[in-house]
């Protein structure tokens, strides 16, 4: 009997090139297993993440958005991640109020040595997004 394959979410990940991107790389080179649902965008710093990128991701039909940067205190540009933190926190809360499930937007701090953590973040995010199902927020027309 043929079984219908399970629905797989597509997630866009905005990763800081100084840490999380390297972390993702490490997860790969050290052969950590994690779901292949994330499409990675390398960004210069988590401070680059305008809420617009998050919403545009959802508008384009991604089921989730992951933003990841250096741990507080470790920013290559001193304060980029502190600023990102306020922005992302507000975005997450505000979008929740608008009616975007909180699970769709995930933020984390992953350093270049935390391949493990990156794998965990992706796995957890994928799991929680699978639970809430595909992103139909902007559906209706145009998708």
């Amino acid at each position: 009997m043929e079984r219908k394959p399970e629905w797989e979410p597509t997630i866009v990940g905005f990763l800081c090139k100084w840490c999380s991107y390297a972390g993702a790389d490490l997860a790969g080179t050290s052969r950590k297993k994690y779901p292949a649902n994330v499409r990675i965008m390398k960004i210069p710093c988590s401070g680059r993440v305008d809420p617009l990128l998050v919403l545009k991701g959802l508008r384009l039909g991604f089921d989730g958005v992951v933003v990841s940067g250096c741990h507080p205190g470790d920013c290559h540009y001193q304060t980029g991640n502190y600023r990102a933190r306020r922005r992302i926190a507000i975005t997450k809360k505000f979008l929740e109020y608008m009616g975007v499930p909180e699970e769709r937007i995930q933020a984390s701090w992953v350093s270049a040595s935390e391949g493990d953590k990156f794998a965990r973040v992706v796995a957890d995010t994928t799991k929680s997004i699978k639970k809430i199902g595909p992103n139909k927020l902007f559906a209706g027309n145009g998708r």
């Binding site: 809420p51 617009l52 927020l137």
Partner: protein
């Protein structure tokens, strides 16, 4: 009070302390006022103060060259402070003429209560905590709770806190009545899906006239992201998806700058309840970062400041 204001404004112009006076004059329709922007000593004779001075004049500060004398209610002054924080306005270049405010009358509420449009009403006046409406010689008294703008009912500082001169006596606080938060509570009691559906319906009728953005003093970008073409973040077409993104991002971009003055909601020609967004945003900012927009001109803007530890539960 108006006489005093006119005298003050004239003096400022005569003494060359300012190049422009920005205030309110009587509008061309009933119960309306219009911004008066002038360099003319005689024109300041038409300055008025009444419960219909609805615009947030701080908007004009970023557009006018030179030194400006500006008439400011509580909300205008908060926006001015916010502009100073963002280096959009130099404090020394402006003279703030504080005026008392005991709340502005929401004519939409009055219209609904009396069942008449504003041009069919003869008189509306605010005195001693009561609003009197006259239609065809018939007087009706309405409690202020029912006819002031929601933003005014929740206002904690109706009179300008930041000012150079103050005309008259500072008005009493209208805030603390818990009003204006009702709609947010109502929305929060819905499920996420219901909320999204609600906003989808609201933004379906947006025509993208950008009146909300254009009257907002916190929207001072020379070029807004919606007008960017490379990349084109949102479609110029007023499809609900793009309307919603525009408004959500606008709100996030002005987080910490928005003083919840309610100007955006007032001017929306298609009645989108925008204050249910701005009010929520102000609430979030204050809850999460203990920050209140437009209160401290020396404080760094919300999004450039940080604490070493915050928002821990949101980011892992």
């Amino acid at each position: 009070m108006e006489q005093e204001l006119r005298k003050e404004a004239k003096k400022l112009l005569e003494e060359g302390k300012v190049d422009y006076i920005v205030g309110f004059a009587t509008g061309s329709l009933k119960f309306s006022t219009t911004p008066l922007i002038t360099r003319d000593k005689e024109e300041v004779a038409s300055l008025v103060i009444n419960p219909f001075i609805v615009n947030n004049l701080a908007k004009f500060l970023t557009q006018l060259p030179g030194r400006v004398g500006i008439v400011a209610k509580g909300c205008d002054s908060r926006s001015i402070v916010s502009l100073i924080q963002d280096n959009q306005v130099v404090r020394e270049n402006i003279v703030i003429i504080g005026v008392p405010c005991s709340g502005l009358i929401d004519m939409v509420k009055v219209e609904k209560l009396v069942g008449r449009d504003r041009d069919e009403i003869d008189d509306v006046s605010l005195k001693g905590g009561k609003v009197t409406v006259v239609i065809g010689g018939q007087k009706t008294e309405l409690p202020t709770e029912k006819v002031l703008f929601d933003s005014c009912l929740g206002c904690e500082s109706p009179s300008a806190r930041e000012y150079d001169t103050f005309i008259g006596e500072p008005g009493k606080e209208t805030g603390g009545r818990g009003l204006g938060k009702d709609k947010i509570k109502e929305l929060e009691s819905m499920t996420t899906e219901e909320r999204w559906e609600f906003w989808k319906t609201q933004f379906s009728r947006c025509i993208r006239c950008y009146a909300c953005r254009q009257v907002c003093p916190a929207c001072f970008c020379e070029r807004c992201f919606v007008e960017e073409s490379e990349p084109q973040w949102v479609l110029p077409a007023p499809k609900w998806q793009d309307n919603l993104i525009f408004q959500v991002i606008r709100n996030i971009h002005v987080a910490g700058r928005c003083t919840d003055c309610g100007a955006c909601e007032r001017v929306c020609p298609v009645n989108i309840p925008l204050r249910s967004l701005t009010k929520k945003m102000c609430g979030l900012v204050s809850e999460m970062f203990n920050y209140e927009a437009g209160t401290d001109k020396n404080a760094p803007p919300l999004m450039t400041a940080y604490e070493y530890e915050e928002a821990k539960d949101l980011i892992r």
